[in-house]
Symmetry: C2
Subunit: 124 residues, 2 copies
């Protein structure tokens, strides 16, 4: 288990995800002031793969550098604002999700035993 | 800019991503001891959408509950191991990526001015 590589890959995924969220923020800001540019960015983002945040930004810089610069600023702001909360949120979300999965599985097994009581008695 | 919602969505994405990483860890562990089960999990993971980690796990619980339980344990372990490092890694990765994007754009503009010096002088 290469934890260093996993942490690095996770950070890369996070960076791309926050780029996507920054694009959404900029589109919604433009929607209120410059709906035409909001529409343009929306169309551009549907065309260019946003899964790879850096490639997306490079493509955007070639077409509308002001929007690209704005997205850089917003994603850095988002990272600074939410970074500190992430460890605790991540740990508690995974603990809760694991608990839910275990509970659901227990319920499923119980249900199976109720609907097939003889086989359950056989296995005792 | 709804930071609370963005932090929550980001945590959900992170949880799914760590589920995917946990599946990779379990496959690589099985590869060494039980290659047939490793192959089975590999095939299963190619078939079931792993983008939604919880739905993937629910499907796996229905087929091989021991593997599903193992993935729950591994993803919780991964979260506990890397969570604390994430804020600093995220901030520095985004800062570095933004610096790279700005540098590339500066180089592109300089290049454009070098290849079209007259228009650049015209615009002065």
């Amino acid at each position: 288990m290469d934890l260093k590589r996993i942490a690095k890959d996770t950070t890369k995924t996070l960076t791309s995800y926050l780029t996507y969220q920054a694009v959404r923020v900029v589109i919604s800001q433009l929607d209120e002031t410059e709906p035409k540019r909001a529409y343009w960015l929306h169309q551009f983002s549907a065309r260019e793969k946003i899964q790879d945040g850096e490639a997306y930004l490079q493509a955007l810089f070639r077409e509308r550098q002001d929007l690209a610069f704005r997205i850089l600023t917003v994603r850095e702001h988002l990272a600074n604002e939410i970074a500190e909360a992430l460890p605790e949120m991540l740990r508690s979300t995974i603990q809760q999700a694991n608990m839910d999965q275990r509970r659901q599985q227990l319920e499923r097994i119980t249900q199976l035993e109720l609907t097939a009581p003889s086989s359950s008695i056989d296995s005792l």
